[in-house]
Amino acid sequence: MATLTVYSAPGAAVPTTGFWTRARKAGLAFLVIGVLAAGIFGPLARQHKSARFTFTQTITGAHVDIPAQPGAIAFGLLCAIAGAILLAWGRAARMLVLLISLALVFLVLSFLCWQVASGRNSTVLPLGDLSNSTVKAALPLVFGALGGVLCERSGVINVAIEGQLLTGAFAGALFGTIFSSSWAGLIAAALGGVFISALLAVLAIRYLVDQVVLGVVLNLFALGFTGFVFTQLMAQHQDKYNFAPVFPSWQVPGLSRIPILGPAFFQGNFFVYLAIALVVLVHVGLFQTKWGLRTRAVGEHPTAADTVGIKVYRIRYRNVLLAGVIAGIGGAYLTIGDVGNFNANQTSGRGFIALAALIFGRWSPFGATLAALLFGFSTALAQVLSVIGSPIPQEFLSMLPYVATIVAVAGLVGRVRAPAADGKPYLKG
């Protein structure tokens, strides 16, 4: 056989970004931030004070004490070292995620050493409580983001997650009270989510309305409608319309004893277990079943799906409605899964954070869940810190989840690939 001079595909082997790979950029950022953390949090931390971390949900029990000033400096430097390794190494691989996670953990620990030791009310941080609050804050986000995954993988942008959550929370409280059954509330919540989804589906798929604008409008509609019924009816007769029974907690024997994580994941109510099951179910469904293959095909290249006999509209309608069921149930967690009553604008932007989690998690069920947990953690951290009397003003602490969202989506995500036909209506012919 004659020697062939076949050119290889340019750029196929190595990414062409040059020296400043993503790993290097992240490494540099962590190096600088880590040094800053050591330099700022260290001196700020009060001398001869220590921060106590308990592994339980209370301020007593097994614990570690970390001297505040050396701790803040040491963890800041560890974060910088992780950054330096990334910077020196500069390649994206499995180690990248590990190193970035480590750097983040060290950064948070450095911050906590200062914060906890400087608390006005207490210098003890119960880690069990922190993880419990994280899961509680993350749950509605997980449901919302999973709804978003179903919707957007089939090619319909779901900005209406907020509206679906809110309607679910509202319907759960109202009908849960009327029928004095939390299960009835749950079904009503699912139907509430489906109601918003149905509007989204018909207007987006049948009438080709711009899906982002439509989502915003549906959110405003849900906010106005639930707010109206709340002030006119529920707020005036709380006991008759806004006093729903709450789902009881179920303990998983054994697993609930795991320190820190046990109470968070295995002592919760129905919603916690449903969320765990749904994440697995949606993942397997999306990547291992006929339904998932068709859903993804419709979201990537609807014409190709149509030419092999797949009913594009039917798949999109089905997925958008299913997304409403999941997000509606997620909203119900805020009422019948937690406090039992509804308040105007109870979701207060959680739907948008769920949307960010969906994008940060790259449209994958597990990714979105991890992102939701991250956002949940920042919410929980803000709560816990304000309880122990942090020197940072309350207003700044409540900004934490949103700042984390912006940093995550703008800084860490970079360019991600949405399903190719996401937001594009399909027209036959």
Binding site: A2, V6, P10, G11, T16, R294, R296, H301, A420
Partner: protein
Amino acid sequence: MVEPGEIHALLGENGAGKSTLMNVLYGLLQPDEGEIVVNGEPKRFRSPGDAIDAGIGMVHQHFMLVPVFTVTENIMLGAERTRGGLLNRGSARERVLAVSRQYGLPVDPDATIEDLPVGVQQRVEIIKALVRNVDLLILDEPTAVLTPQETEELLAVMRTLKADGKSIVFITHKLKEVKAIADRITVVRRGRTVGTATPDASEDSLAAQMVGRAVKLRVDKEAAQPGDPILSVAGLTVLDERGQVAVDGIDLEVRAGEVLGIAGVQGNGQTELIEAIMGLRPIQGGEITLHEGRSGTGRPAGGRRGRGPASQSLVGRRTSEILHAGVGYIPEDRSVDGLVMEFSVAENLVLDRYDEPRYASGIALSPNAINEAAKARITEFDVRTPSHLAPVSTLSGGNQQKVIVAREMSSPLKLLIAAQPTRGVDVGSTEFIHARVVRERDQGTGVLLVSSELDEVVALADRIAVMYRGKVLATLPADAPREQIGLLMAGITDGAAPETSGSEAGPETSGSEAGREEDES
């Protein structure tokens, strides 16, 4: 009517209704009247699913493959087999390999579509149809994206399928291929069947039937009289949207009074090259220079506009500056980059010149001047339009393209960049546009022509540069053998043997396939 085991060619111009007819046959569009008869039974296809059930498969002009799926996933899509509720990828993979071996269509079942060359993607499309046990396979312009060698391979596959008793409808406007493979030919024009023919009909007579009058298949032109260089490109490197190198250190030179044709299969960096020259895409490295060249006849190229610096770099310049420096640009996709569809013909004729003194005074346009100029252009360039005020979207593809050509040629040019100037244009307009390009050349303009139709490049160019994966592999004289150009288009520089097309395939298939193709070459 298509008989079993027959290759039936459907020949017609762009827009003659070939694809529409086949989309009706495949259930994508619904007929307003008439009926489809399969094996003696009238059928009505409400969706492609019905057509597949009736044994009809189609390979679309634009591939219907999900880019992020693997070959197997694409082929199983819509006909998934499951085991215990989960996808059975294993059995689908086996099926792909079996069909792949049976018909000599090597593919790697686990490769992701977007990583595969178009030729292989087309094989996947064919396998996709065959897996569904079709009796009739419709191939819609299958050779448009292939190199000459890949085209030969496709024709061989078609013969295999025919020998296996499958019927094929082969849609094309390329006469050579029709004559090479078809058993019977139906010619369509403007939505009507205008005749049938046998493959021994001459190319001229087929072309005449297709267009409705006698046409010249060759472009009349004198030998070029090239002058000084007008455009030089040195070491140009450009990235595509995905950050991959699309143009990889290219050196080019276009001289006054010559047509430099760039041949190559679509997607080998031609688009990025042109966009970089026009300032529409940032470059990574290299230099682009527009010279004050003199044509072979000693006349300064670009006439009066030729004043200004002797040589100027185009790197980092805005597109409007580049246009005003004496560059004309016919973009490859007229509906996206060339015209504003809702605007009138007159407005489109001044789209990049509206701010010149002849059309504007101060901040106001001069509608009279624009309209008068438009009427003159419409006559000169034979644009068939009801009025100069008609929206350009109401014109046929050929006339839309003539609007662009008229606009670009209405100013004195040093350099004309023509990307796919006759794509989707009828034969009559193609003749006209080709003649105008040659006339522009004879006036001393340097012309850079990009076309994925090798016939067009060969017909117009004085020199041919072949692009493959972002590089210019060679620059050849216009009379270089087509075989040599074809090999270069496939990335083979020594011409000893065609690239074994099975090289991308998995180990299961590549061995036997490579052997088979080696014997052929």
